[in-house]
Every structure is written in structure tokens, then in C-alpha cells.
């Protein structure tokens, strides 16, 4: 029943006056409701890809492109970024660069995108209230956005994107500058949004989180997608190290101590998988040791 929401068709891109292409023949699809993770080393083209998905490339950045990106049946080159933002939202790394700098309060900040779209003032209130509850920023609504912590501002940025009711949310390392508590709060919200049906495309460095949340993982290197599939397919690939990506720590650890026979699986990618694997190991040991005792 899933339909294709994003279609990246052999897309290449080079920034103006650069000697290297930033994206090279990138080709993949994202289905409606999917949680897609994009991983890769620094400078591999992940951010460029995010900017291309939301239409900032080619509409905001200056450069040359080839191929096309179709988001919800709209060609990103043919519509403005503003129009596209009703379909696809973006949250990126630096929280303080995601404020409009025109608002005195968080409520005004959330209203900024609605105002640009001409949403009547009366409708703004109910929308702001609804989104503030969802993103857990209701107690911040009267505060000055410039006086909040990074984690709080990032939640405001997330809310400002979500309030435009996009079908897809692109997250470009949106927790990198946050402390562990702040980033956990953001990730919980993102998980909830995905459960509510919003398609997620997330660039992340936390491999365990990727393994836990993503339905599909793409590895990108030198602007090209070099590997793609389910988290298990990707992280168990023997070529992973060639693409400067490491699997989650659990994978390395469990791979080392799991001997054949312990369990049907011989690896774990996430904490919960590791726990259940460990329980199986303990059960196995118990079973095999009792008769001797």
C-alpha cells in the first residue's frame, strides 16, 4: 500500500566554481511513511543531498545539476522552496541558524511560516497550540527564542518545520550540537512523528540510533550512494569499512563473543537486540552447565 514520495533520478550536482562534484549520479526512492537514514563520512555529500531534497538545490544554492528529484509528484527544480516546504521540511545542525530573527516570542516564531503563507491570524493560535503540545514546547511559547538553550531552540526549529504540515521531514544531523538529554528528547519526538505517518529522511552519525530507528539505510561516499538496504544488510556488509563507516558498537562486541549455537543470530545492532541476545546466551549456558553441576 506504500507509494513513492521521493524519487531521486540519477541526480548530480556541482557547486559554482568548485572543481569536484558534490553529488554523483545519486539514484534512490523513498516510500511514504518510511524512515530512511543516510550515513557516510564528513564531506561525503550528505548535507548537499538534504539541501537537494528540500529544493534548496537548485533554487537557493548556485551550481549545476543533472537528473531530477521528484518530491510528491513535484519537480524540485520547477517549484520554489517555499512552495515545497508544505510537502517537505528541513531541520539542520545549528539550532540558532534556524530562527527567523524577527520574533520576540516562540509563538511568533512558529507563526512566521504560517504568516508567509497567509494563514489567517485566528487559525494560527490553534495550530501553534497543537504543535507546541506535540513537540513539548508549550511552556516556552511566551519566551524569547534567542534566550533558550540549544536543545530548546532545536525543538522550536522542529516545530516551525512541522507546523507547515509537511509529509516528509529531512533531518541533517539535527542533534549533533545538542547535549545527550536534548538529543534524546528530539529523537523521541521524531520517532513519534514517524509513527504518526510522517516520512523521515535522517542524516546521522549515531549508528546505533540508525539501526534502531531506520527502515532503510543508504551509505554515501564521495557524492555517490555506495550501499543501501535494511540496517542489517548494510551493517553486516563486508565492504562497510571501505566506505569509512563503522557499524554500531554492539555489532563488534556481539560478533566477538557469540559462538555458533548460542542463538540463531550471531550479532546485535541495538541495545535491545544485544540484551535479548545476551539473555539467550545466558539461557544456553545455564542449560549446558546444569547437568554437570
Amino acid at each position: 500500500m506504500t507509494s513513492t514520495l521521493i524519487q531521486v533520478n540519477h541526480f548530480s550536482y556541482r557547486y559554482n566554481q568548485e572543481t569536484e562534484v558534490a553529488l554523483k549520479n545519486v539514484h534512490f526512492e523513498v516510500a511514504s511513511g518510511e524512515f530512511v537514514a543516510i550515513i557516510g563520512a564528513n564531506g561525503s555529500g550528505k548535507s548537499t543531498l538534504c539541501n537537494a531534497l528540500v529544493g534548496l538545490i537548485p533554487n537557493y544554492f548556485v551550481g549545476f545539476s543533472e537528473g531530477s528529484i521528484i518530491v510528491d509528484e513535484k519537480d524540485t527544480a520547477a517549484v520554489s522552496v517555499g512552495e515545497l516546504s508544505q510537502t517537505i521540511g528541513l531541520v539542520f545542525q545549528n539550532p540558532f541558524n534556524q530562527l527567523s530573527y524577527t520574533a520576540d516570542t516562540v509563538a511568533e516564531e512558529l507563526a512566521f511560516g504560517l504568516g508567509n503563507r497567509g494563514v489567517p491570524r485566528e487559525q494560527m493560535f490553534s495550530k501553534i497550540k497543537e504543535i507546541a503540545e506535540l513537540i513539548q514546547i508549550d511552556e516556552l511559547l511566551d519566551k524569547n527564542p534567542l534566550e533558550l538553550s540549544g536543545g530548546q531552540v532545536q525543538r522550536v526549529a522542529l516545530a516551525s518545520a512541522i507546523i507547515l504540515e509537511p509529509k516528509i521531514l529531512v533531518l541533517d544531523e539535527c542533534t549533533t550540537q545538542l547535549d545527550p538529554i536534548g538529543s534524546r528528547q528530539i529523537m523521541n519526538i521524531i520517532k513519534k512523528l514517524n509513527e504518526n505517518g510522517i516520512t523521515i529522511v535522517m542524516v546521522d552519525h549515531d549508528m546505533e540510533r540508525v539501526a534502531k530507528l531506520a527502515d532503510k539505510v543508504y551509505v554515501i561516499q564521495h557524492g555517490t550512494i555506495v550501499l543501501g538496504g535494511t540496517p542489517e544488510e548494510v551493517f553486516c556488509s563486508p565492504h562497510l569499512a571501505e566506505f569509512s563507516v563503522n557499524p554500531p558498537d554492539y555489532y563488534e562486541i556481539t560478533k566477538k563473543f557469540i559462538k555458533p549455537g548460542y542463538s540463531e543470530r550471531d550479532f546485535a545492532l541495538t541495545e535491545s537486540q544485544a540484551i535479548s541476545l545476551l539473555q539467550e546466551v545466558i539461557l544456553y549456558e545455564d542449560r549446558n552447565q546444569k547437568p554437570q553441576a
Partner: protein, 254 residues
Amino acid sequence: MENINNSIAVLVRKLNPITKLLIVFCLGIGCLIYPLPFVGYGVLCLLVILGILIGQGKQVLKLIVGFGIPVTLMLLFIQGLYSPNNKTMIADFGFAQMGLEGTMYALKISSTLLIFLAAFYLMLQTTKNSETVAALTQSGLNMKLGYLILASLNVVPQMQRKVKVIQEAQESRGVETSGSFIQRTKAFLPLIGPVVLSSLTDAQERGMTLETRGFGISGDKPTSYIKVETTGLDIVLRMIAICFLISSLLPRIL
């Protein structure tokens, strides 16, 4: 903005920012047009009284004394003693004579300046900048200009704080901020370089944010979260302001 909540302060604060702007403009220009400077000083007294009523008296007086008196003295010196229009001499200082025409001109300019200064100050103290911009955009100011005013007001203090933090860090690390001119320049330049360059990349990302929030998309007429009302009092005050401007023109025409 101080929170003085007597009824007059509340009333002034509730006025439409456009009304306040119009009053500032009409008072200033009106006094400039009117041939004699005394109207200006009369208006200035009224502004001081208004300032006192809304709890800003001290600040307004400080502004007038701190800026107004030096400027007036300077203008009296330049225009009063050396204006080429001086014909009627009213005083002789030995090295120069004081002319009536130049003196009147100096007084008029200083009174106009002070009216603008005091009226504008009172307006700023009783109006949120975001309200002013919302009122202006709702009456047709380009969105982009509105953005520029508000963003500058928010971004600049942030950058100044950044520079101050670095400056303090430099000082605590013992970097010379005193000493010869060359020394001081050498200490300061590496300090602002990184702030300038990082701010530029920040600007690029902020532009991305504006775009993805649909800033400036054509087609829809933008709306604002801030409500700006035009009450009966606004209309009356606007009429009075315009009447004042017109009546100051009369002696020139008649």
C-alpha cells in the same frame, strides 16, 4: 521597556504604531516649517510633560541635556556668529558679532532636532519594534524591509555580545588592548576576523531557514501573528497631528 502601568502609559502603549510615527513626523516637520523657533520649544515642553506622565521624565530630560545643550551651543556658535544671513546684530563678542537671523535659525534647528529626538525616544519606549514593523507591513511596507529592520535589531546585539566575549577572553589571556596604535590594531584584527567570517556562514544558513519557511513566496498576502488595531483615539490623534502640520504651514502661505 519599563513597566509603568499608569493609565496614560497604558494608553500610549496601546496606540497604533503608525499613529505614533505620524505624530513624531508631524511634530518635527511642523516645527521646522513654522517660521519661529518658539513653537518648537513649546512642543518640547509638552513632550517632557508626557515623558514624566508615563514615567520616562528622567530619561527624556537626560537626553535633552546631554545631547540638546551641546548641539544648541554649537549651532549658536556657528550660525549665530558666522551665518552669511546675519544682518541684524544683537551682541558683540569682540572676535565676532552675534546675528539675529543666524541665532533664530540655530534655535529652530536645535528645537526640531530635540523634538524628533524626544518624540522618537518616547515612541520607542512605548512600542515594541515587532509591533511597529507589523503595522507597517500591514499598511503596505515590503516584507523584506520589515525583515531587515527586525533581523538587524536582533542580530546586531548578538554579534556585539560575541565580540565582547572574545574581547574579554583576549584581555584575560593578557593580550594587549592598550599600548600603541599599531599594537592595539594588531590585537584587535584577529579578534574580529573569525566573528565576521563565521557570521557570514551563519547568514547563509539563516537564508536557508527563511526559504524553507516560505519567506517571500509570491501569491499569498502575508499575515501577522501580532494584531495591530486602529481605534477611534488613533483616528482623532492622527487628525490632530495632520492639523498641526497644516497650521504650521499657514503663516508661510498667508
